[in-house]
């Protein structure tokens, strides 16, 4: 238990970090940072870097040394031929950040987007600050930083032009990577003045005037992904595509029940298998987020390693291994649901008094299962231990957080870990954990060549950090005016350390702000769990919003009022105790109201539908986004569901890339439908039953909804992320629509367990 507890602390800290970034306040403020520039031989044109307030690093680097190379990988490089290279600091996991980051910098730089080249930055938190991609935080964290990087470079170009033309900087205009002196009509490309610009003083970030929204020329338009040409032609981009000279290949086999240790294995037989170069056991650090015990097989290619593994026989020590079982948890949760929670969380007003005086009370029990991430690119890392350096190519969402862990595994300081970012073939939260990178490092220590660790799909299913199941016993009260008066919730969840919720298994605060019952009582009971859990697209919200917004619909029906009216009434209640305590939380009843109203309007709320058809709506505040979703569907006698239309309305502030945001809204809605309909992980005696996609039915083309209309309310608030907010409200909208069509309430996921299917 102790080891699991320690690793869970890492995950909790990580989750807290990705959750703590609200929209209203970017974590890097102007006063804490400064620019640096780089000039010198071997550096063509202007290189404008950027770093946190670490003055030591700002020293002019000598030619060609390490510092110079780092600076070359800072944000912007302008070449004499007017090509502008912009370095994207965060991982591209499909959320489109490599494109959006470029657009933000190019906007303030007044760059010609057609001649911008986007490159992935290497990992160096000293230069770039946070380099993770999680919690839909990349945009809000980087927004000011990137705009200032662009504006700072532009100011230096303008200063150089003013000096060259003996003009006043205020008379210099910029557009499409060209500087123009309005009085004389002289003009020059950025590239031609880049070298001169590099000699200008670095501006104080505070002196930079950033554009207003009315001045945007690039932000808000539609952009294809900057890597799309390489994606559609199969060029190497992903971690799995990495090839190094002399590279060998590895598999790593861990105990199918989490926590099991290697006693022995048939090493001699494995080493005799065709193509096998070596095989050895690794004790590991005993932490699931680093390296658990296992057996590495090294071979000349992936197939030989996979084939040899078919012959692998490991004698596992199961003394500390998981014996968890989902059927046991399900039964136990139902038993304890009606009893008093182990721990109280919220207690606002007087719930008992409200129930005593209520016009109506409603009770319901909701549950949802464990879920796996299983992005299509299986976990992998290429690692090379050479010259006292651990060099890795990793498809990860948290490269910067991986540095110290890999350093620990390799026995070197983090500065001796060189990590290259690759494109990531899907994250969904799985790759917030760097376990596979740590494993690759542990293996590389024993291999005299670059080695690519390749997980099989079965490894991915068996060794995930699962979205935890959850069970909610609700009781609500409606007062005599038909308003929500009390909300009582007993949340049954999991703990890894016996003290607090396991990673991703806590009630999110979002419901406190968004369901403003004046009398609120929430508490929890936690079951011990050894199976690792973690952040899964829109952690917490991805399932809790299903339970809560479905129950809100039940309450609205009991109130006799229109559902939308009931929701708007609740969100606009003034309950000071439930206001966000953290100033960085940007929750706004006004923004919630606007998205709910617009969603109802666009979905045709109140229209008459034929028998067997229904319209359902739900909303959420999630990952700094305000979102409402509506589903219109029909259900036939065989419980086959035909989705007529999905409407998504979001307020995430100004949109950077409209094509990308629309894709995220549609993709998250599709993912949420897929998950609600069919996805479930079953644990039996500490082992995961589902081993591949044939038992984990991710939605396929014939069943995918084709009418998903996304609308954006582009408020003047700072922009926030799009990766997660469009997920949580889809499932309750779906369940509410099924109720509207059939009168049957969905209180359990996935829907296939209740006999529902999607019509092709």
């Amino acid at each position: 238990m102790a080891d699991f507890a320690r690793s869970d602390a890492y995950l909790s800290a990580l989750l807290q970090e990705v959750h703590s970034v609200g929209a209203a306040r970017a974590p890097f403020t102007i006063g804490r940072r400064s620019f640096f520039k780089l000039t010198g031989a071997g550096v063509a044109g202007l290189v404008l870097g950027f770093h946190l307030g670490d003055t030591a690093f700002a020293a002019e680097p000598a030619n060609g040394n390490d510092a110079a190379n780092q600076a070359m990988n800072a944000f912007i490089r302008i070449a004499p031929d007017n090509t502008i290279t912009i370095y994207s600091k965060c991982p591209e996991i499909g959320q489109g950040i490599k494109t959006s980051f470029g657009v933000i910098i190019a906007e303030e730089l007044d760059a010609d987007w057609a001649h911008v080249v986007m490159e992935q930055a290497d990992i160096n938190p000293k230069v770039y600050g946070s380099q993770g991609a999680g919690g839909s935080t990349s945009i809000p964290r980087a927004w000011n930083q990137l705009r200032q990087a662009g504006a700072g470079a532009k100011a230096m170009l303008v200063a150089a032009a003013a000096q060259a033309w003996s003009g006043d900087p205020s008379q210099i205009t910029t557009r499409d990577s060209v500087l123009t002196h309005t009085a004389s009509g002289r003009s020059a490309t950025y590239g031609s003045l880049a070298a001169a610009a590099a000699k200008m003083p670095v501006p104080d970030p505070k002196s930079l005037k950033l554009k207003t929204r009315a001045e945007y020329r690039l932000i808000g338009k539609r952009y294809r992904g900057v890597d799309d040409p390489k994606v559609v032609s199969g060029q190497p981009l992903f971690g799995i595509d990495v090839q190094r000279p002399g590279m060998v290949y590895a598999t790593y086999t861990k105990c199918p029940a989490a926590g099991g240790k290697v006693k022995s294995f048939n090493a001699d037989e494995i080493k005799r298998q065709p193509g096998v170069l070596d095989a050895f056991a690794i004790e590991g650090t005993g932490l699931v987020v680093e390296v658990m015990p296992g057996v590495a097989i090294i071979a000349r290619d992936t197939w030989s390693a996979f084939q040899a593994r078919e012959k692998l026989r490991v004698d596992w020590d199961l003394g500390e291994a998981s014996t968890d079982s989902t059927s046991h948890f399900s039964a136990l949760a139902k038993e304890v649901a009606a009893s008093f929670p182990q721990k109280a969380d919220d207690n606002v007003g007087d719930v008992d008094k409200s129930f005593a005086n209520a016009a109506k009370t409603v009770e319901a029990y909701y549950e949802y299962p464990f879920a796996a991430h299983v992005p299509l690119e299986p976990m992998n890392t290429t690692a090379h231990w050479h010259d006292g350096i651990m060099e890795l190519w990793v498809p990860t969402q948290q490269p910067d957080r991986g540095l110290p862990l890999i350093g620990k595994v390799a026995g070197v300081v983090p500065e001796k870990v060189v990590m290259h970012q690759t494109r990531v073939g899907g994250g969904f939260g799985r790759r917030l954990v760097n376990d596979y990178a740590c494993e690759a490092a542990a293996i590389a220590l024993k291999v005299d060549a670059p080695v690519k660790l390749q997980w099989s799909r079965e490894d991915d299913f068996a060794h995930d950090f699962y979205r935890p199941a959850g069970y909610h016993q609700f009781k609500g009260a409606i007062d005599r005016g038909g308003r929500l008066d009390a909300w009582q919730e007993h949340f049954i969840t999991f703990t890894a350390d016996g003290k607090k919720e396991a990673s991703g298994a806590n009630l999110t605060d979002n419901l406190r702000y968004s369901i403003k019952a004046p009398n609120l009582r929430r508490g929890k009971t936690m079951f011990p769990l050894k199976i690792p859990t973690g952040a899964w697209r829109a952690p917490g919200d991805n399932a809790q919003v299903f339970a809560a917004q479905s129950f809100m619909h039940e309450l609205s029906l009991a109130s006799g009022r229109d559902h939308v009216e009931f929701l708007l009434d609740a969100v606009n209640r003034d309950v000071p105790e439930l206001a966000p305590k953290d100033a960085s939380v940007n929750f706004s009843p006004k923004r919630a109201t606007d998205v709910i109203k617009m969603c109802a309007d666009k979905a045709g709320w109140g229209k008459t539908l034929p028998k067997g058809s229904g319209l359902g709506l739900a909303w959420c505040y999630s990952h700094a986004g305000h979102v409402a979703q509506a589903v219109e569907l029909s259900v036939d006698a065989d419980k086959s569901i035909r989705i007529a239309r999905i409407v998504v309305v979001l307020d995430v502030g100004p949109i950077i890339n409209m094509a990308g945001s629309e894709a995220q809204a549609q993709g998250a809605s599709t993912d949420a439908l897929s998950t609600a309909m069919g996805l479930k992980i079953t644990i039996e005696n500490g082992r995961i039953r589902e081993q591949n996609y044939n038992s984990y039915p991710i939605l396929r083309m014939p069943f995918a909804p084709m009418n998903i209309d996304a609308y954006f309310i582009q408020s003047d608030n700072p922009p926030t992320g799009m990766g997660e907010p469009a997920f949580p409200a889809l499932a309750p909208a779906l369940g509410n629509a099924i109720f509207a069509a059939t009168g049957e309430r969905v209180r359990k996921l996935p829907l296939r367990d209740l006999g529902y299917s999607l019509a092709a």
Partner: protein
Amino acid sequence: MLTLTVNGQSRDVDVPDDMPLLWVLRDHLSLVGTKYGCGVAQCGVCTVHVAGKPVRSCQLLVGDVGTRPIVTIEGIGATPNGAKLQQAWMEIAVPQCGYCQAGQIMSATALLDANPQPDDADIDAAMAGNLCRCGTYIRIRRAIKNAAAKSA
């Protein structure tokens, strides 16, 4: 030693006959555009063309390929429908994470090669074997239709 014809080129490989074509392409011919996703023909990211037909290369043993020509995502742009589909994919920004898209384009190209004007049911049937975890199906369908419209 086996001799394969890949993207119009003759390539010699020293691998066992029972190695799936997928791993020969990726590990021995450095054609990494063809992806590994499940190993059991459930996800479609490993789709290539063998003698013009879409095949899950994780299931085809290299010894069974014989002299049939192989086309991978790296070579599909040299075919008229492949080029049209790649263009259509970029025009409406289909990819999110992008990992499945090589397989999607290979399946879509085989579809248009056999049926230049597919309807929705044809698209469903041809694309059902290709998973997209990001949920880009709306744009995949639109891109196929846009490419088909250019042939009309």
